[in-house]
């Protein structure tokens, strides 16, 4: 446009190729690291099992072969794998939920916790454990937690009939409900007897070792479906980051799409939380860490954060299993212990100013 000498021609083409390679590389590394760590995690426990034996047991399970050693197979597949798979899937799902919420609400603090999902689940669980009230009797706390976790999103959906569902309105709604649910839960805890109290408390911290393979499979399926949808929407999430006006002029029906994404993400987060309890920090921290490495394009950020979150939760699970042997600590304590300092470090070192 101007006539004076300008720097050399723009070379986004080669830069973009380099960036794409870096992003795909990061995703691949996280995915492979995840797989290796899963095998390693299954070797840890009171009974020593080698990585090779773990690998064979997994192959046996996948291919439906007759296992060479029933005992080892049982330990690996039935005793150790459910927690490992749950950790991976939940880490993945929570991180994906975090990415979506942060991108579409344009808020670096958004995650299943600040959106009231976890608090809703906590309330539902407390209701079942302390009061003994179950929405569908005989289902235990899982259905309770799931349904109450959906409430904040439903309230937002309802309010959006009357006014525009802006990001600020959504976050304020989430926070309002979070306080409300927390207060109600605390009230229950005041009147609970010590045994129930301890159970509720443990649930609030969140752990992955209480699940069986069926439960892990349910979480897996929901997370995969949710992730596929979000991946499909990822370029529209990018546009939402530009602000509602720009997103609309670039062809995104922002208000509607934001509500739909919110519903999908809430579904995934609610499923995870209702089986594992409230595992904090993965949904918040994993996306930020990955953004600092590969940038903010959600098409890559969604899967990359997912694998990174899986890695983070699996590592936490390993620490939780080994740090106070033979006691297994709830993994939620560890994620917060690791996540807190990591987050502080990230804020201090935010030279790239990934968020403002």
């Amino acid at each position: 446009m101007s006539d004076d000498e300008l720097p050399a021609k723009s070379n986004f083409e080669s830069e973009y190729r380099r960036l794409t390679a870096k992003r795909l590389g990061f995703i691949a590394i996280c995915a492979i690291a995840c797989l290796l760590l899963m095998i390693f995690a299954a070797t840890i426990g009171s009974y020593p099992i080698s990585a090779g034996e773990v690998f064979n047991s997994i192959l046996d399970a996948i291919l439906g072969r007759e296992p060479a050693d029933e005992g080892i197979y049982h330990i690996v597949i039935n005793l150790r794998m459910p927690a490992i798979v749950t950790a991976v899937v939940c880490g993945f799902g929570l991180a994906v939920c975090g990415v979506c919420m942060q991108s579409m609400l344009k808020n670096p603090l958004a995650d299943p916790y600040t959106m009231g999902i976890s608090s809703g689940a906590g309330f539902g669980a407390a209701l079942a454990m302390i009061v003994g009230f179950e929405l569908i009797s005989g289902t235990g706390l899982v259905v309770n937690a799931f349904i109450f976790a959906l409430l904040p999103a439903l309230v937002i959906l309802f309010l959006s009939k009357f006014r525009n569902a802006t990001p600020t309105m959504m976050i304020l709604c989430g926070i309002a409900l979070m306080y409300l649910f927390n207060a109600a839960t605390q009230l229950f805890m005041l009147i609970a007897d010590p045994e129930d109290l301890s159970a509720v408390y443990k649930w609030m911290i969140g752990s992955v070792d209480g699940t069986n393979m069926t439960e892990a499979a349910i979480v897996l399926v929901v997370t995969i479906l949710g992730t596929i949808y979000v991946q499909f929407m990822s370029n529209q999430l990018n546009l939402m980051g530009l602000g509602d006006e720009s997103a609309k002029t670039l062809g995104v029906d922002v208000e509607r799409k934001r509500l739909i994404v919110l519903m999908v993400v809430t579904m995934v987060a609610a499923t995870i939380v209702s089986f594992t309890g409230i595992i904090g920090f993965v949904g918040l921290v994993a996306p930020h860490m990955v953004r600092a490495i590969i940038g903010t394009d959600n098409r890559y950020l969604v899967p990359a954060s997912g694998f990174f979150g899986a890695l983070l939760l699996l590592l936490s699970h390993l620490v939780a299993m080994t740090i106070a042997q033979p006691t297994i600590l709830p993994v939620g304590v560890i994620t917060s212990c690791i996540g807190g300092p990591l987050f502080l470090f990230l804020i201090l070192r935010n030279s790239k100013e990934v968020w403002s």
Binding site: F12, Y16, N235, L242, K248, T249, D253
Partner: protein
């Protein structure tokens, strides 16, 4: 202006295989908030390619009228047609394929490099994937707007003027039939203002498209606009060639400012006469 092949990607004439008419038409459009109307019964047809500038005092509804074209605002009554279709019946994506809107400013929370921000403009045409042509067209826009030195920079670190150039680039890569700009030169220095205006005029002519811009500077408008719409009192006050619209009388009525209007080398020049207490 750089004439390399790269930039020519952006300057390809408007494709019009199916003979769609090029037009923006307001039909008895009224817009307002609650009881108060900002625009009343506006009738305006824009169907000639070229650079059209919308002028008028603050708060008269210049930005409002352009935002009614792409459904950012919904009129109370009346209709707006783009290329013959009522925008009410078009999806945002349909509109984005025809029409690009360059906002005055924009803020993002998460980091994004300049080329990535410009690449967003490809969404209406490209969808989920990014092709090699998408990338090349972004390179062309960066070269065209002289943004090479910022190509690795985070858009949040740019000055207001640099951001405006990024937003213009984003509008260009949309390859629109109709390009709308909301005060695109408000933060640019005089040289860039002139460069942008000269470019937009040539761009409208060479591609055969409509460029509509909301503008404040009378002289720049007079020098470059093909058509001027002067707004005042809830609608269009005057409409026509710069020399017809920008008269001392009109300026006095609309802006309450005395002006001397001369024509030099065929260009209308306006000297505003300052008042002192």
């Amino acid at each position: 202006m750089d004439d390399s092949d790269n930039i020519s990607l952006l300057l390809e004439p408007r494709k019009n295989e199916d003979g769609t008419p090029l037009s923006v038409r307001f039909e008895n459009m009224t817009f307002g908030y609650d009881e108060k109307n900002i625009l009343e019964n506006v009738n305006l047809t824009i169907d000639e390619p070229g650079l059209l500038c919308i002028l008028g005092p603050n708060g008269v509804g210049k930005t409002t009228i352009v935002k009614c074209i792409n459904k950012l605002l919904k009129p109370k009554s009346g209709s707006v047609y783009v290329n013959g279709k009522n925008v009410h019946d078009m999806s945002l994506l349909d509109i984005a394929k025809i029409l690009a809107f360059v906002p005055n400013q924009q803020q993002t929370v998460f980091s994004m490099t300049v080329p990535e921000a410009i690449l967003m403009g490809r969404h209406p045409r490209a969808g989920w994937t990014t092709s090699q042509r998408d990338i090349q067209i972004v390179d062309a826009a960066i070269d065209l707007l002289g943004l090479q030195e910022f190509s690795t920079r985070d858009i949040r670190q740019l000055s207001a003027g640099q951001t405006q150039r990024v937003l213009i680039a984003r509008g260009l890569v949309q390859e629109p039939d109709i390009l709308i700009l909301d005060e695109p030169t408000s933060n640019l220095d005089v040289k860039f203002q002139m460069d942008v205006m000269r470019f937009l005029k040539a761009y409208a002519r060479d591609r055969g498209i409509i460029v509509i811009m909301v503008c404040h500077d009378l002289n720049i408008t007079a020098a470059y606009a093909d058509r001027v719409v002067l707004m005042y009192g809830k609608g269009v006050f005057a409409d026509g060639k710069p020399s017809e619209v920008l008269t001392a009388e009109n300026i006095k009525t609309v802006y309450k400012v005395d002006a001397e209007v001369n024509t030099k080398n065929g260009i209308t020049q306006i000297n505003l006469i300052p008042k002192f207490d």
